[in-house]
Symmetry: C2
């Protein structure tokens, strides 16, 4: 495992020019004495592979890249729904289970519960579930004053990391890096 190397996780791999945001993140990492590794850094030869095989190749490469990183900084900004990108959630847990510090940031300052209520169209205190507010399917709206599902927020804090929160509106929410930089600074403070 390379020390001081940060796995840069987030849905920005889906941007039209992911290298631009990857490079911006790497510059911030470098300014704080880290080396940032962006998932696309692994040049893969996917030519001729069936879609399933190509996806498996990328997943394996990302897992290998994580094993080489000392910590992770994950973009938890909500992605196509009230929660963060599930693939990024996977990556937070992968690093957590390897015993490495997990840092997260989100550019949506609402609490997960409030964001979920807005998504499913339920007002706070509406009830409908033995333990709180229900969505239209009757499932509980988790309400723990956290930025997302308790596994991610809890895993980050238990690992020694933090969850940094900003509010950025519109498409810039996927590229704004102030909260990301606070994570990197905090990582430097934690790692010494």
């Amino acid at each position: 495992m390379a020390n001081e190397t940060i796995y840069l996780a987030g849905p920005e791999v889906f941007l039209p020019d992911p290298d631009a945001i990857g490079d911006a993140k790497k510059r911030i990492c470098a300014a704080h004495g880290f080396v940032g590794l962006f998932p696309l850094d692994k040049a893969l030869d996917l030519a001729g592979l069936a879609p399933l095989e190509a996806g498996l190749r990328i997943a394996a490469a990302n897992e290998a890249l994580m094993r080489d990183c000392a910590l992770i900084v994950a973009n938890m900004t909500p992605f196509r729904g009230p929660s963060m990108d599930a693939g990024t959630a996977y990556e937070m847990a992968f690093m957590r289970a390897l015993g490495r510090p997990v840092f997260g940031y989100t550019n949506d300052a609402r609490l997960f519960a409030d964001r979920t209520r807005a998504f499913v169209g339920v007002t706070k205190g509406a009830g409908g579930h033995p333990r709180g507010d229900a969505d239209p399917d009757g499932l509980l709206i988790e309400d723990f004053a956290m930025a997302d599902n308790l596994m991610m927020h809890g895993g980050a804090l238990a690992s020694g990391g933090v969850v940094e929160v900003d509010q950025v509106d519109g498409p810039d929410r996927f590229t704004a890096l102030a909260a990301f930089e606070r994570c990197v600074k905090e990582a430097r403070a934690v790692l010494g």
Copy 2:
């Protein structure tokens, strides 16, 4: 680590009566020689805790429960958006990183790409991104003939597990267990 113990992951912890589905899953596990452990099995004393503290306590308990399990069977049925519950994605990765077999099932038979296109209102082949179809924010719609984001589907297959798929409509999609039982059978075949 207890052998032959299955961590039962999924958004059904949010159902009004999670014990009912938990018990049904445990019966299926028992029929195939496994012991199923449902996240709510850890009786926690959360009285008097602030919401954040309560959430952290639950997250830590779930991580401890996972460490005691030999494998995981995760409900990947889409949850409030095109992807699975992000907390369940976290749990798949946690077990994957611990080197344990990961099994997943979903009661939505559509491919992740098709489901995402439907969610964001984009038709197949619409393009708009250098690598495929874009959502209205310009972000790529991942298209790998998988049941969800490639990290989860890829992690399950790489671990020796499978992803089982059914189509169940309406609220029953969170409780139907045919695909779950196929996972448990396959786990028995894998573990011998």
